[in-house]
Structures are given as C-alpha cells and as structure tokens.
C-alpha cells in the first residue's frame, strides 16, 4: 500500500471580482479612508451594505493522490485548474480547507518561469535550478544532462530573450524535470514543444512515475491525459465534477458526438 503524496480537503479559494480594475489601492486613499471611517460608519447606519462581489475559483475540492500516481486535471478555461496548482505550489493561500504534500515539490506553472530574458541559457539554468530548489553542486552535476535533454547546447551562451517560446519551454522543462522532485506539478507547459520533444517529455514523466514520484498535470490534450495519467479529475466551476479512470472522466467531460478538438 503506497503512501498518500497529496491530500486536499475542502479546498476553496475566493477572489473578489469587484476589485478587479482597482486591485492596487492608493496609500493616500487608505489613509483618508481610515481617517473618515467613523463618519462613514455613522452615515451608513441603517443602510444595506454593498453586495459582496466575490467568486469562488475553487470550492470544496477534496482528493488524494498516492505516491507514484499521475493525476491529470482537465476542465474548461477558468474552471479552477491553475488556481488549484497555485495553492498546491504554495504560491497563494486557500480561503478554506487545506492541502498537504509529502516530499520535495517541483512546479512548472508557466513557460520559462524565473527565466531572466537578459541572461544566457547557461546562466538561467543555474538561476532556475536554484529557484526550483537545487544547490550549485547539484546543478553542476546535472548540467550536461539538462542541456542534452533540451538539445540546446548550441544556444547556451545566447540570451534567453532571443529564444523562441518553444526553446524556452524545452530548457525550462529540462531543468524542472531534473530537479528530482518527489511531487511534480505541470500546468499545460508541454503544449509548446514540438512532437519529438513532447514524446521525450512523456517518456521522462513515465520514468519519473516508475521511480515512485507523483505527478499532477493540467492539460487540454485529452490524448496525453489518457496515455499518461493513472487518474483524472474534471473540474468545472471550481468543483470536482468527476474523478476516476482517465478514459471515463474524459468521456464525461467531452460528451459523445462532440468534437474533442
């Protein structure tokens, strides 16, 4: 019986949508508000408070992933998939519930996260490796392997701003895949690479999986979800609609007769 790698219980995340165009407050306004608060409170007596403009990007999501499992998360845009990954990667805090993760986490939520455009590929491998949790010795040891995986040796001393997005994602994935995490989060990053590179990434993910590592990936590519994942979860409106065998969940997500493309 393998151990639980990811446990999520009653997870919820609320965003205020009324504040979208005015996310950044002004300090001067905040001070004024604080100063005039007593007066406003007196005036507001008896009046209804303005409606709470908020949206639950995730609501009451619970699931478990065991070590060595690959969970594919599918769903429409805005269904909460990325929010879930952000909470699991500790980037943002949940409004409700909790998430527990066992082991070293590697996450790749966007092409070239942490890449600095003015630095060369070589420099960015070191920088990104450190941000993802490797130390210098570790990076130096795996450097050749990373570069070989990305097939980028010719461009190592070129600034990353001159890379195509495909080249960036190759290098970024290569670094993330070599962090040797126990739990790996991937958000739709494989879509950018070409066919051959994608196959290579799949092979790497299977290898990672057979080593007992856990993967959680968000994807719109149903074929790869069915091929790679041991489980799938369909999110809609921030809630779990279906959970189980990938083929089954995909079938429910894409009803019969609909064109999956």
């Amino acid at each position: 019986m393998s151990r639980v790698a990811i446990r999520v219980e009653g997870l919820g995340k609320r965003y205020r949508i009324g504040a979208i165009h005015k996310r950044h407050d002004r300090l001067s306004e905040a001070l004024m508000k604080a100063a005039t608060a007593p007066i406003r409170r007196l005036r507001a007596v008896g009046k209804p408070s303005p409606a709470d403009q908020s949206i639950w990007a995730l609501k009451d999501v619970s699931f478990e992933v065991k070590e060595g499992e690959v969970l594919g998360v599918i769903g429409r845009n805005g269904s909460g998939k990325s929010t879930l990954l952000k909470i699991l990667s500790r980037i943002t805090e949940p409004t409700a519930g909790c998430a527990e993760i066992r082991g070293r986490v590697g996450s790749l939520l966007e092409v070239g996260t942490g890449f600095h455009p003015d630095l060369t590929g070589r420099e960015n491998v070191y920088l990104n490796g450190a941000i993802l949790g490797m130390n210098r010795k570790e990076i130096a040891r795996k450097f050749d392997e990373i570069v070989a995986f990305a097939e980028m040796d010719r461009f190592l001393d070129t600034q990353v701003k001159h890379y195509s997005s495909g080249m960036q994602v190759r290098l970024a994935f290569a670094v993330a895949a070599h962090v040797d995490p126990e739990v790996l989060f991937l958000d739709e990053v494989l879509a950018v690479g070409d066919y051959a590179f994608r196959e290579k990434c799949y092979a790497r993910l299977r290898e990672v999986q057979t080593n007992g590592k856990t993967v959680l990936l968000v994807s719109h590519d149903m074929a790869s979800v069915e091929n790679l994942c041991s489980h799938a979860m369909w999110l809609d409106g921030g809630q779990v609609q279906a959970w189980g065998k990938p083929a089954e969940v995909v079938r429910r997500y894409i009803p019969k007769g609909a064109n999956p493309a």
Partner: protein
C-alpha cells in the same frame, strides 16, 4: 536552499545590471565620484561647509559611500517585489529573499567604489588607525537599516502602488537629514540626539571616524541608532510576514 536562492538572485541582478552597458561596472564608481565632485564644488568650495579638518572631497566621498549603498538598496528593495511579480505568481520560495537580495546587490557597487576611497586616502595621505576594525559594524548597521525600511516599502508597494513615487523623494529628504554633505558637529546638544534617531547618521559619521579618524567616537547616539535600526528591521519583517501570503493575489 534559501541561501542558494539569495546567492543566485543577487548574482542575477549584478549580472543583469552591467549587461548591455558600455562601461559596465565603471558605473558603480562613476556615480559616487561625480556626486563627490559636484558636492565639493558647490558645498565645499562655494558654500564653504566645514569638513572636520580633512579635505572636503574625501570628507564627502567617505559619507557618500555608505549613503549610496543604503539609498540604492532601499530603492531597489522597495520595487523588488513588484518587479519580481512573474516569479512571485509562478513559483514558491520565501518572499523576503527578493528584497534581501536587492539590498545585497549594492555591496558589489560598494566594494568597487570603496577602491576609489582607498586611492583617495593614499592621495591625501590619510591612513586609518585601529578604529578601522569598527568599519564592518557600521556597514552592517547600514544594511540592517536598508533592509528594514526596504521590507516595509516593498510590502507596502505591492498593495499601494503610490509608494514607488514617494521613494525617490524619501531618499532625497533622508540624505539632507543625514550628515553626508555637512558634519554633525554643525549641530549642538539636543539636535544631536535627534540625529541619532536616524541610523544613517551613525553610519556616515562612523565611516569617517573609523577611516579618516575625524569626528567623535561612537557614543550614546550610536546606541540609539542601533536600536532604531533593529526596530525597523523587526517591525519590517513582522509586517512583511503578515502580508506576504497575499502577494501573489495582489501583485
């Protein structure tokens, strides 16, 4: 692990700063040297501001060194979180590393500019005594103050975007409130205690005392300054910790 990120983020900022510049690291020297020349002409020559018995150029340069380290660290740190938004929203690591490395980047410039000071001391034949062993203490006090204020402003800047407009203004006023271009001996009695509330007063005067041997040795003012600097750091760190959880949602 955090140490590695501090190292690499600092190293990244240093690299990026001097990439695509013609004279590269010479900028680190040029800025304080040119400021020193302008100060010497206007404040030293024309205004005749006293300089504790040493030539005005070395008097002002010795003060400008820690001041530049402080002011640069402060302004870089306060913009660091907003500037690092793409990191903050995509990856997790302790957020305080970002302003911390922004402050540390200034040390590279400081070392380069310090070499000029050494050359100037040779030129004016001013040699430091044993007091020079206190120099790292004053350097540390400057970094602590910079980080303390930097933590406050960087976190505030995430929420309140008008902070960034106040920072250049703040550093300018702060410089005039610090004895960079004038000696604190121009002020008497209770004014001096008031100056001690500004840790940078102790830093600037301490640099001159330990390197050039002018001014008073550290006294009660130094203790007041250290307490203020620590209070800034602790309160800044507490405030930062309280709001850092929401950075990714707000930035």
């Amino acid at each position: 692990m955090s140490r590695e990120i501090i190292y690499f983020l600092t190293w990244r900022d240093v690299k990026v700063r001097y990439k695509q510049t013609v004279i590269g690291a010479a900028w680190a020297i040029l800025q304080p040297v040119l400021t020193m020349i302008v100060f010497s002409l206007f404040f030293g020559r024309l205004a005749g501001i006293p300089s504790e018995g040493v030539p005005y150029p070395i008097f002002s340069y010795c003060g400008l060194l820690p001041w530049t380290l402080f002011a640069q660290g402060l302004s870089q740190a306060s913009n660091s979180l907003v500037g690092g938004a793409n990191l903050i929203t995509k990856i997790y690591f302790p957020r305080s590393i970002i302003p911390l490395s922004a402050v540390l980047v200034g040390l590279v410039d400081f070392v380069l500019a310090f070499l000029v000071l050494v050359a100037m001391m040779g030129y004016y034949r001013i040699f430091p005594g044993v007091n020079v062993i206190w120099l790292p203490g004053f350097l540390l006090l400057s970094l602590i103050t910079s980080l303390g204020v930097g933590l406050w402003l960087s976190a505030l800047n995430v929420q309140y975007r008008d902070v960034r407009y106040t920072v250049p203004f703040l550093t300018q006023i702060w410089m005039f409130a610090t004895p960079v271009i004038y000696p604190s001996s121009l002020l008497h009695g209770s004014w001096r205690v008031l100056l001690g509330l500004n840790p940078m007063t102790t830093v600037v005067e301490g640099f001159r005392w330990s390197l050039l041997g002018v001014g008073r040795p550290p006294d009660a003012m130094c203790a007041v300054s250290s307490l203020v600097a620590l209070a800034l750091l602790v309160s800044g760190a507490l405030y930062f910790r309280r709001v850092e959880r929401t950075f990714a949602d707000v930035v």
